[in-house]
């Protein structure tokens, strides 16, 4: 698997994603600067967590308009896998690769804590290493992770088996306890929890590792 991590000004989980991917893939992962207008050939694009452009305007809004994102959208449409974590999920909804929006947390405060997730579908290259219904622990760390979509969209996401993860202890008010969703083609995943922070036993958990292993397989 060839993978790249996009670096926006203000990304701060770019290195964490690289470390987790390299551990799974056993080969170097390239970092791509947001100002580049073309992606190198790749099988996977990771949009990392952080505060791209300082969250100015709306989280993810400015990053979704950066030069490299046009090529990321084209690549996604060709079937290249795209994983957006935390701020990366916000970028994916802002650029239209995923439906809905991530609003300010219902509690109005930043929240950093381990959450419990349930795997809702294994029909994706990201989640096929899990068992359906498996319960996972991984950290969230965000101020704007409250997933919102119109009722029709929510219905469609559920009907098409595109909800990847649901919270069992919803930390942010997300509708339907949604923690992560897939696009129609199932090659784009956006999720608020951080699998890259749960891929190393010394950090207290390895439930995120199967996601990277599945991508590397």
């Amino acid at each position: 698997m060839k993978a790249v991590v996009i670096v926006f000004p203000g990304s701060n989980c770019d290195r964490d994603a690289k470390v987790a991917l390299e551990a799974a893939a056993g080969r170097p992962v390239a970092m791509v600067w947001h100002g580049d207008s073309e992606l190198p050939p790749t099988d996977l694009v990771v949009l990392p967590g952080g505060f791209s452009y300082g969250d100015y305007l709306r989280p993810g809004a400015m990053a979704s308009r950066s030069p490299v994102m046009q090529d990321v959208v084209r690549a996604a449409k060709r079937g290249v896998r795209v994983l957006g974590i935390c701020n990366g999920f916000q970028v994916l909804t802002e650029c239209g690769l995923l439906p809905g929006a991530l609003l300010r947390n219902a509690g109005l405060r930043f929240v950093c804590r381990p959450v419990t997730l349930r795997v809702e579908t294994v029909r994706s290259p990201f989640t096929n290493g899990y068992r359906r219904g498996a319960v996972l622990q991984m950290p969230v760390a965000h101020h704007d992770g409250n997933y919102f979509a119109e009722p029709a969209t929510l219905e469609r996401l559920a009907g098409e088996d595109r909800i990847a993860f649901r919270y069992m202890d919803n930390p942010n008010g997300s509708l339907g306890d949604i923690a992560g969703i897939l696009n129609e083609r199932r090659n784009v995943l956006g999720m608020m929890p951080h699998p890259e922070r749960a891929a190393d036993a010394v950090l207290g958990g390895t439930d995120g590792r199967a996601l990277f292993d599945a991508l590397a397989a």
Binding site: N12, F51, D55, P139, R197
Partner: protein
């Protein structure tokens, strides 16, 4: 605002006389502003330096002691840990969000200025009484501000402390510590070198914010503190993050000769200190300083404390490299002057010379005071009547009240897992951060018990160092060095100065006895409103090394069937204890004495046991004594514990705050007791783990569910206005 003399820009009459002598003429407004800022308490340490010199600052591991932007110690593997703690007390009281946020930004700059990638932030917070009208708003604002900055720059906030006391009603204390890691042979310093080299300004533009910040922080408050809001800086963590990345990228080249962040007193102190340390002069053209607003005067430009700015001296030819790096990150970059051999700071604006000052005399002439001080009289011993009440009632009051309740509400607002190296986050004795890419780690803590320092500054100073050292030891780390943040009231009052002198004496003794030098620090005086000072609060931030992350421990009880062993001698000292304060409502008596030899002996024993893999859990005993420690260990692990020993039949045994003690969960208590006896370390088997409750002497019990409920409930309910 009161304190410094309002005439002569805040300089005292004798200080102003010295200005006249140095210049041989009257200073103009810009020059006077520069003198006033450089000679302010905040920048010059004029009341404290006589005493700071008595602290030990050297050890084999020290690569950089006090005097630079931060201290540095060797952590092996060719790496250095670079760290410092700094206060942002005055600004945080006036404008809590921005004050705290820029405190974090400032301390991060101190660390990456030296070439280190910041890897952890800690904070030590002291607020007023929970029922004081301002406390809730201040606490919520400060916590949001710390999170707002640290979360955005992506440096984990891994630990800290928070306490409440009415003495902080008018002056909160907001201290932030940053820790970074750099190649040991690539530490950047601030001494300018090379006549003719370019002086370069990078980062944000200069605006009119924070002017007089340094002088504001060198005065007490009165009822008009709110009017000081324009002196508070405004932070931009996004630019801060870009500045970190751009500086570290440029530091990977050989373009930089010297670098200094623009903190207190902004461009004035950074330019001045770089030239002064290099024994050179500097010429600046203020028209070239990137400015956010039009028509700024030379005075405003020189004294602005706008955030996210750095000053660098570049090698010839380094300008193009630097311009490219800063351009990539979208940051301002401007050559604003050159180094000269004149020994003078010469400033020009609009083609006119607006200031011309001799650097050496201004630095050497910096005032130093031996302020009168009086020793704090010994505290009268507290009379404690025998208490046969259920100890669990007292435990409920402590763990379910402001003094002992969980701080989760605070640290869940901080990203403590970003960077993927947080092995032990908030809530333990010391945070543990892996040294990236290795199996080794840093242990980090910040500690101080102000109520002890008030009753006996010398003992309180010793205790602050001892507790920090103990917290590092309790995770298995070898303590390396400390940074300090000395928060006191008005040093012009002899009793306050006496507190300062006493605390420094105690800290120095403890640092020497425990082999931890002070490598950096910050003094914050005049934390006082209408004559009421904060409690003397010398916060100690400490850094330790874990050679092998596998050989560490935490405080969570990992399972049932383990023996609990209490290491250290229990005498049952209840003076100034949390029990006395939370249960009896009394702040009386002397603090527990600190026996530094016992600290050393007991701690070295515990560390060796942890490293040998013989300890399943370990917690240092501090606030609240044995029963609070046992409860915290049980809650952290979700495993109950039963304490059985004649010791626990008395309140003094359960809640006494005798020092140099640890509670350990072990598989082989007999072996440990034998080794302890051989080492001359008092150790006692006092119970075992298991069940879903905390039980004392078989007679008194509380379920972990109830305990967890009340421990977690207080802070959210209080913030919500409950």
């Amino acid at each position: 605002m009161s304190g410094p003399n309002e005439e002569h820009g805040g300089l005292a009459p004798d200080e102003y006389a010295r200005v006249l002598e140095i210049l041989g003429r009257r200073p103009n407004e810009v020059e006077l502003g520069i003198f006033a800022a450089m000679w302010s308490e905040h920048c010059s340490y004029k009341s404290s330096k006589k005493w700071l010199r008595t602290l030990p600052t050297d050890a084999p591991c020290v690569l950089q002691g006090p005097g630079e932007n931060a201290g540095a110690v060797d952590i092996g593997g060719g790496l250095a840990a670079i760290f410092k703690m700094e206060s942002h007390n005055h600004p945080s009281f006036i404008e809590p969000y921005q004050g705290a946020a820029t405190g974090v930004g400032g301390i991060l700059r101190d660390v990456f200025t030296m070439g280190a990638r910041p890897v952890a932030i800690l904070n030590a917070l002291r607020f007023g009484a929970p029922d004081h009208e301002a406390t809730r708003r201040l606490a919520a604002g400060v916590v949001a501000g710390i999170g707002g900055y640290g979360n955005c720059v992506g440096v984990p906030t891994v630990g800290g402390e928070c306490s409440f006391h009415p003495a902080c009603n008018g002056n909160i204390l907001v201290n932030a510590m940053a820790v970074g890691i750099a190649p040991a042979d690539r530490i950047f310093r601030s001494a300018a070198a090379g006549v003719g080299n370019a002086v370069v300004y990078v980062g944000s533009r200069t605006g009119r914010d924070g002017i007089h910040g340094a002088t504001m922080a060198s005065a007490t408050f009165d009822d008009e503190a709110e009017q000081q809001r324009p002196t508070v800086q405004v932070g931009d963590p996004f630019t801060g993050k870009l500045l970190i990345e751009a500086c570290l990228e440029l530091m990977g080249t050989d373009a930089i000769v010297a670098i200094q962040d623009m903190g207190a007193a902004g461009l004035t102190s950074s330019a001045f200190e770089m030239a002064s340390k290099g024994g050179l002069g500097v010429e600046l053209d203020l028209d070239r300083v990137p400015q956010r607003e039009e028509g700024m005067s030379a005075y405003e430009i020189m004294l602005s404390e706008s955030q996210e700015r750095m000053l660098m001296v570049l090698r010839p030819g380094g300008e193009e490299t630097a311009a490219a790096v800063f351009g990539k990150w979208g940051l301002e970059f401007a050559v604003i002057g050159r180094l000269t051999d004149t020994g003078r700071m010469a400033l020009s604006q609009h083609g006119r010379r607006v200031a011309d000052l001799p650097i050496r005399p201004l630095a050497d002439g910096s005032p130093e005071y031996d302020r009168p001080w009086t020793r704090t009289p010994p505290a009268t011993p507290a009379t404690i009547s025998p208490d046969n009440r259920d100890p669990m009632a007292a435990l409920r009051s402590i763990l379910g009240g402001p003094a002992g309740a969980s701080r989760r509400w605070i640290w869940e607002q901080y990203d403590h897992t970003v960077m993927g190296d947080t092995v032990g986050g908030p809530g333990g004795d010391a945070a543990v951060v892996r040294i990236h890419g290795t199996g080794r780690g840093l242990a980090l803590t910040s500690d101080c018990t102000p109520r002890y320092c008030l009753a006996d500054p010398v003992e309180g100073g010793r205790q602050a160092v001892a507790e920090a050292w103990r917290n590092l030891t309790a995770v298995g780390a070898r303590p390396l060095a400390v940074t300090d943040n000395l928060n006191f009231g008005d040093p012009e009052r002899p009793e306050v100065m006496g507190q300062f002198v006493g605390c420094i004496q105690g800290m120095g003794e403890a640092c020497r006895a425990l082999d931890v030098p002070v490598v950096s620090g910050n003094v914050s005086l005049y934390n006082e409103t209408n004559g009421r000072a904060v409690l003397p609060t010398p916060v100690v931030g400490a850094v330790g090394l874990l050679e092998d992350l596998a050989a560490r421990t935490g405080m969570a009880l990992p399972g049932p069937g383990l023996a609990l062993v209490l290491v250290g001698e229990t005498r049952g000292h209840l003076g100034r204890s949390l029990w006395l304060e939370a249960v009896e409502g009394r702040e009386e008596g002397p603090p527990p004495p600190v026996d530094l030899a016992a600290e050393r002996r007991n701690g070295d024993f515990v560390r060796a046991e942890i490293r040998a893999g013989r300890v399943a859990a370990c917690h240092d005993l501090s606030d609240g004594g044995l029963l609070v420690a046992a409860a915290e260990m049980a809650l952290a692990g979700g495993v109950g514990a039963a304490l059985r020993s004649p010791l626990v039949d008395a309140v003094a045994g359960l809640f006494g705050e005798d020092q140099a003690r640890y509670l350990l969960a072990v598989e082989d208590p007999e072996g440990m007791l034998e080794r302890a006896a051989a080492a001359g370390v008092p150790a006692l088997r006092i119970g075992e783990t298991g069940g879903g409750a905390l039980t004392v002497g078989g007679r008194s019990s509380i379920s972990l569910d109830e305990l967890r409920g009340l421990h977690e409930a207080w802070m959210p309910a209080w913030i919500a206005g409950g």
